[in-house]
């Protein structure tokens, strides 16, 4: 690999032992993926933030590190809300370990944003090179915003935070961003009435078929929340880090892209509307959990509207970034008047909140995919309106 003076100095240990080791990780990845050089990244998003996922091993490693992030770096959701965990039944020993994890990341200069949607609070531009690791965020910034990042692991993202570098391979290179599989829907007219949950259901199916290929959808007209839902589910059921929706996502308008769409061969798969509809279940819910990925402004508004003058009759959680909660106190007050809880900093998958929670109703295709394995809970998919109705016992 071609190294510049700074890369070489990092590797020689001139910036300390931690940064030396971090550069060794990036160099090994560069070799594995046959990168020719390192590039600078504009921002980093670090996963491996919940004690539930990284455990004692991860925590003890973090505690050996020193140094500070050199680019804006955001932390993924942690295993509980930073401030109000006592009221949620989070076990004390878990909370203690989680606070140690937070302290370790903060010491390293990783901002404790604790969200999987840092793109709502930071400007990400088309063509920006990033090193992000949370799979749904990677999918969103690549596909919807046109930035460029591979799906990093926790340690490799941290390595980029502390060095500002990433190896130049994979999705950083434009020619590697062309679709490899194309999806059609048998009844495109039916998709006009689809909600976020339908796009999540489509993502569950399309992600499993795609594996790590780049999907291309035609005929769909999703808004940004629907795109978020689709991408998050495909990243969970498959390993999709980038997808395109014709004439909707930014790169599909590039002449280079259009040329490849016309000339390249790729597998074409048809998905039936009935396959999507079948994923919506009819069990009795024990808990409602929304906000996977964390809710947008529009989703918060819709929830405030739907929950006004209603009363929930079961645990009803909405996961959000602390920053979103702070920005919209009025909407949050309306929502919480119903008895629903807005829980910041964490989510249904990485906190112990949903462990063995019985039937968990959600509008998220990603949560639907992860709840059985990560929480030993039974997932139930419904639209946002279905979730509100069920949560209010209607």
């Amino acid at each position: 690999m071609e190294l510049d003076k700074y890369d070489q100095a990092l590797l020689n240990g001139e910036y300390g032992e931690t940064k030396q080791k971090m550069m060794e990780i990036l160099l090994a990845l560069g070799k594995i993926y046959e990168a020719e050089k390192f590039i600078e990244v504009k921002s980093v998003q670090v996963s491996g933030a919940s004690f539930k996922t990284i455990g004692d091993a991860g925590l003890s490693w973090l505690n050996t590190l020193s140094g500070k992030a050199v680019v804006p770096s955001f932390l993924n959701p942690i295993g509980m809300p930073r401030d109000e965990w006592q009221n949620l039944g989070i076990p004390d020993d878990f909370a203690k370990k989680q606070l140690e994890v937070n302290a370790a990341y903060t010491r390293l200069g990783i901002r404790p944003t604790c969200t999987c949607t840092p793109y709502y609070f930071n400007i990400i531009e088309r063509g920006d090179h990033l090193a992000w690791s949370e799979s749904s965020a990677v999918s969103y910034v690549n596909s919807v915003l046109g930035a460029r990042t591979n799906r990093e692991g926790g340690p490799s993202a941290l390595a980029s935070a502390l060095t500002g570098k990433t190896p130049y391979y994979g999705l950083h290179i434009v020619r590697n961003r062309i679709p490899q599989i194309e999806f059609h829907i048998d009844d495109p007219a039916a998709t006009k009435s689809w909600t976020n949950a339908h796009y999540g259901a489509l993502g569950i199916i399309a992600g499993a078929i795609s594996g790590n290929r780049i999907p291309f959808f035609t005929e769909l007209r999703p808004n940004r929340d629907m795109l978020k839902s689709l991408g998050a589910a495909m990243a969970a059921s498959g390993a999709v880090a980038l997808y395109h929706v014709n004439e909707i996502t930014p790169e599909t308008r590039f002449p280079f892209f259009k040329k490849h769409i016309e000339e390249d061969d790729r597998e074409v798969v048809e998905i039936e509307v009935s396959e999507i509809d079948e994923l919506f279940g009819s069990l009795e819910a024990d808990v409602v959990a929304l906000g996977c990925p964390h809710v947008s402004e529009e989703e918060l508004e819709e929830l405030a509207f739907l929950l006004e003058n209603r009363r929930v009759v079961m645990p009803f959680y909405i996961f959000a970034a602390e920053e979103m909660k702070a920005k919209h106190p009025d909407l949050c007050a309306k929502i919480q008047n119903s008895g629903a809880k807005i829980v910041p900093d964490t989510c249904m998958v990485v906190s112990p909140l949903m462990d063995r929670a019985g039937v968990v109703m959600t509008n998220s295709g990603k949560a639907f995919t992860y709840l059985p394995g990560m929480c030993k809970a039974t997932p139930l998919l419904g639209t946002l309106e279905d979730c509100v109705r069920a949560g209010c016992g209607e």
């Binding site: 080791k21 990780i25 990845l29 070799k31 990284i54 004692d56 091993a57 490693w61 340690p155 490799s156």
Partner: protein, 131 residues
């Protein structure tokens, strides 16, 4: 006898070979306290990786597996070295943070057993030839 490969994680390690042709998931597959393979479906089930030169195709499973390699090292039950057919992110990252010398893409055949030395810095494996 010296075989050239590719350097992944630096340092040298010597130990008896422990070879499998099945990929390993360290998270859930190897006990971080004892170094014993606890995945019942794995051919190395019940064997200890501690102090061995562990030869396997590549890592699989959760990326948290990198931290398990670190935990093994901290508990003094890590492999002495790792040889992969084709190293990937989980093992490369874990080997570097755990300081386990690691190489891949060997341009020659290893013996079936015996003691070998892995030099992760130069990317080589050396061993005495018997007979």
């Amino acid at each position: 006898m010296l075989i050239q490969g590719r350097s992944i994680a630096k340092g040298t390690g010597t130990g008896p070979l422990l070879i499998t042709d099945t990929p390993i998931s360290f998270l859930g597959g190897v006990d971080p306290k004892t170094g014993i393979v606890i995945d019942e479906t794995h051919p190395l089930f019940g064997k200890s990786v501690a102090g061995k030169v562990l030869v396997f195709p590549y890592g699989k499973g959760s990326t948290v597996g990198s931290y398990v390699l670190y935990a093994l090292a901290k508990n003094h039950v890590a492999p002495a070295a790792i040889i992969n057919t084709e190293c990937e992110t989980i093992i490369a990252t874990g080997a570097i943070i755990a300081e386990i010398p690691t190489v891949d893409r060997l341009k020659g055949d290893l013996p079936k057993d015996g003691i070998v030395t892995v030099d992760g810095t130069s990317g080589t494996v050396s061993f005495a030839q018997c007979g």
